[in-house]
């Protein structure tokens, strides 16, 4: 027993010594040429407690980061500083996995959410990686075993006590980065921040340009007279202010009847009749890339159009009830969702626009997938 304790103590001591040595290179804020030269010479003479990987990382930081660490403020308002190039990433959310695919960082991902594993058509490469649970129930043990440099998750999920606090106890070097990648208000900035952190600025810029192009396009065509829209999940589960779907309809130029009411909440059927929305947009978590998506979305569509007492609601009466997949409504594919909703609200203004074509562009150009979007279902009726 004493021997085991001694070995463990030595191990911890040597690990802390190695870490301290690497961090010592930053003691004056940056790695200088003299410091790196000294590190290289000592390593070559076997007189260094820096490992080969340490010297490689120091060289990379010196050459590509001007010797300085990289810092971002994530969407949870936490300051994240990294001192080495990020080589191992755990993506705890589907949206961060998609963002990593866009940035061309699939190769650095070592673990994914169980939901990514379920989406083989959406993530043909990443779905083969080990699962680390989900953002709602992360498996901290599995995460730590993968030795990631960073873990990316949502701002709200999981709670810090379920992730950061537990990880810190086992491996404090692992950084948790909270970036949503599903909200229109933060998506653009988040992609730039992650691109910067991973040295994938070029791919981030390409995405941001595409994002801006469609946002500005929609903005330029929104008419003065706005359409009244109701947003929901199931027919009576309203999606109010601050939810992705609400924001999407407002960005697309809709006058949402839920204005002033925050979050997700239940409504009375009579209230919907009183609001008399001209368009109803429902949110569906059907996996748009899967062959079953169309049936699931159709089912949601029928729940609304056949809802007892809603026959005279203008949206139902005039055939303007639509279902949108979360794959385009709240993900980095958001510009596709935006154009789709804008066309539903103002068909005349957007009659020359083909959302399916934009989705195909996104899938081919940004996700680098050989997937025909007609094989999936992202909006219903199509």
């Amino acid at each position: 027993m004493r021997r085991i304790i001694l070995v463990l103590a030595l191990l911890i001591f040597s690990v802390s010594l190695a870490n301290a040595s690497y961090m010592d290179l930053f003691k004056d804020g940056r790695i200088t040429k003299a410091e790196l030269t000294n590190a290289v010479l000592n390593y070559m003479l076997h007189k260094s407690n820096l490992s080969f990987e340490d010297v490689c990382d120091a060289s990379y930081v010196y050459l590509y980061w001007h010797g300085k660490p990289k810092t971002i403020v994530d969407s949870a308002n936490d300051t994240i500083t990294i001192y080495r190039p990020v080589k191992r990433i755990v993506a705890l959310s589907v949206d961060s996995a998609e963002a990593l695919a866009i940035l061309g960082a699939k190769g650095e991902v070592v673990g994914v959410s169980k939901y990514v594993k379920e989406e083989k058509r959406h993530f043909p490469v990443l779905s083969k990686l080990p699962s680390v649970g989900s953002c709602f129930s992360p498996n901290v043990e599995a995460i730590v075993e993968l030795h990631p440099d960073i873990v990316i998750t949502y701002v709200k999920w999981p709670d810090k006590s379920e992730l950061e606090d537990k990880i810190k106890l086992v491996d404090p070097s692992i950084k948790v980065v909270r970036l949503d990648f599903y909200k229109a208000s933060t998506l653009r900035e988040e992609m730039e921040k992650l691109g910067y952190l991973l040295d994938k600025e070029e791919n981030a810029t390409k995405y941001v340009k595409w994002f801006d192009k469609w946002l500005n396009f929609v903005k330029s065509r929104i008419p003065e007279e706005k359409v009244k829209v109701y947003t929901c999940g199931k027919p009576l589960k309203a999606f109010g202010e601050g939810t992705g779907l609400y924001d999407l309809t407002v960005m697309a130029g809709g006058d949402n009847v839920l204005k002033g009411k925050k979050g997700y909440f239940d409504v009375d059927p009579e209230q919907v009749v009183l609001w008399a929305p001209q368009v109803i947009v429902s949110w569906c978590y059907a996996k748009g890339y899967s062959p079953e998506a169309k049936e699931i979305m159709k089912e949601r569509f029928l729940q609304i159009v056949e809802f007892p007492g809603w026959e005279d609601v203008p949206a139902v009466k005039n055939g303007r009830v639509y279902v949108i997949s979360s794959d385009i409504g709240s993900s980095p594919a958001l510009p596709v969702g935006l154009v789709t909703v804008a066309k539903w609200l103002y068909p005349e203004k957007f009659k020359d626009v083909d959302p399916k074509g934009i989705m195909q562009e996104y899938v081919s150009e940004f996700l680098h997938l050989k997937f025909n979007v007609s094989e999936g279902c992202f909006a219903y009726p199509q």
Partner: protein, 171 residues
């Protein structure tokens, strides 16, 4: 038979974009250069294990010496010149360990140097030693232009010729 050209190509390709040029023949008491050229700018460390009979004189890049090993550091550069002096006649094995810290690769090269009693036909200009010898110094700027030693066919070249001859004979 078909493998012969492939073998030939493999033997002639330099080791991982790191070209080390060592003269195969030098005269006793003669100073000579070892030149290291990289394919582009990088961070590379070299460790020369000097046999008894060869002495370190100077280097164009920062260096450190420990026992019989001289470490050189190329930081954000693409070449290094190391000047040695042959002290005694004989055939010496020069082992050079290298680490490319940007590509994450490393390896060891072995070169043979014959030191003969007569001086070599092509005298080598060497890196001017500093006035005060130091164990470690910042990158010196050579005061005289440094001409790399004449390229001499090395071991790989000889094996390549041999492979070619075998291939041609079998053909």
């Amino acid at each position: 038979m078909k493998l012969a050209p492939l073998l030939l190509i493999l033997l002639l390709v330099p080791v991982h974009a790191l070209n080390v040029n060592v003269p195969s023949n030098v005269g006793v008491n003669e100073k000579f250069n070892i030149t290291v050229k990289l394919n582009g700018s990088s961070v590379v460390g070299l460790a020369l294990e000097l046999p008894n009979g060869l002495e370190f004189v100077n280097s164009s890049v920062p260096y450190k010496i420990s026992d019989n090993t001289v470490a050189l550091a190329i930081v954000n550069g693409s070449y290094a010149i190391c000047t040695l002096k042959a002290l005694k006649c004989g055939r010496y094995e020069l082992k050079i360990r290298w680490s490319d810290f940007l590509s994450g690769k490393n390896g060891t090269l072995v070169r043979w140097i014959y030191v003969s009693p007569k001086p070599s036909l092509t005298p080598t200009e060497t890196v001017t030693p500093t006035a005060t010898p130091t164990r470690y110094m910042p990158t010196p700027t050579p005061t005289t232009p440094v001409t790399p030693t004449k390229k001499t066919p090395g071991f790989e070249f000889m094996v390549a010729i041999l492979a070619m001859l075998i291939a041609l004979r079998r053909w």
